[in-house]
């Protein structure tokens, strides 16, 4: 089983960088290609890599399925919550301009929060998909 050592050490080195890259893509989505969807998928892939190398049981201890599903729902709530917040502040639904004193800053804040919501949902969904497929025992037929 010595060949496993390379995989484990390599994964340990790579996973923090993958997570960091995902966050970079998320927050720099305004200035270059990127945004919530891509960042969510990359972030989830770090956890999938962890599950592939260290086993599903370990991965489920780090990130339980319930938490991943919670994240998926939380993202939708964040997104709709931004819309409701704009309603409460006097604008129409999802009009980011009323979030701050100045419409342009409001837009930037709104986009940031909304992309965060998308990121959370996509991340939770991809991890939940992976857990569902790999957690199933093989049928005996």
């Amino acid at each position: 089983m010595e060949d496993r050592v390379i995989l484990r050490v390599g994964a340990k080195i790579l996973i923090p960088h993958i997570l960091l890259f995902a966050l970079y893509v998320q927050f720099h989505g305004d200035y270059g290609p990127g945004g919530g969807f891509q960042a969510g998928v990359i972030f989830a892939s770090a956890f999938i890599l962890y599950a592939l190398i260290y086993g599903l049981a370990h991965a489920k201890r780090v990130l339980p399925l319930g938490f991943a599903s919670f994240c998926a729902a939380l993202g939708v709530v964040i997104y709709a919550g931004v819309g409701v917040a704009t309603l409460l502040k006097g604008g129409v639904f999802l009009e980011y301009g009323v979030l701050r004193h100045d419409p342009v800053h409001g837009q930037e804040l709104g986009i940031l929060l909304v992309e965060l919501g998308v990121f959370t949902t996509v991340f939770g969904s991809m991890v939940a998909f992976f857990y569902s497929f790999t957690g199933r025992r093989k049928s005996r037929s």
Binding site: A72, Y79, F93, G110, S125, F133
Partner: protein, 173 residues
């Protein structure tokens, strides 16, 4: 081409790998056509997540496809007729890359010109996705959530053995 190989190969593992290559090739195509955001997403999602999910499915269902016992004539006929109709329809379409195409009038120049002052975000795709068309993106997020609900309902419960005597619990999932 990759797509035709996908059609003919019966070892499903090879099919899944080729599907990943197909996604990656189309991501490269998107990059060449200046769609960097789309290429990024297609590479991550198509070549990444789709491949992983299909491999997970193959681990549960098996890898070989049964050989077709007779030549399917009707699907071939349907496909040829549809293809011919589409080629006929494409003769009316505007040529590739022309800046005067109808698709580039009306809304798109407005987004490109106004996005700088109204939103202040350089990446126009993000500004359109999150602000000008933010409502659609909310719907899309809901769609992903709904898919998670569906998959969890189908897959995260205990496996039951479907015998003729009725349902009984398996050794647990």
């Amino acid at each position: 081409m990759t797509a035709v190989a996908l059609l003919r190969i019966r070892n499903l593992f090879a099919v899944v790998m080729l599907a990943g290559i197909y996604s990656l090739l189309s991501a490269g195509l998107f990059t060449v056509m200046d769609a960097v955001d789309v290429a990024f997403t297609e590479a991550a999602v198509g070549a990444g997540i789709s491949t992983v999910l299909m491999l997970g499915t193959l681990a549960l269902v098996g890898r070989k496809e049964k050989a077709p016992d007779r030549h399917p004539v009707l699907p071939l006929f349907v496909v040829l007729v549809t293809g011919a109709a589409l080629v006929y329809g494409s003769l009316d379409m505007p040529p590739f890359g022309d800046p005067d195409n109808p698709i580039h009038q009306h809304v798109a120049p407005r987004y490109l010109e106004e996005s700088g002052e109204e939103i202040g975000v350089p990446n126009v795709v993000t500004s359109v996705l999150a602000s000008y068309r933010g409502y659609d993106t909310m719907g899309e997020t809901t769609v992903i959530f709904t898919a998670v609900v569906g998959v969890l309902l189908l897959m995260a419960t205990r496996r039951r053995r479907w015998t003729e005597e009725g349902k009984g619990d398996d050794d647990g999932g």
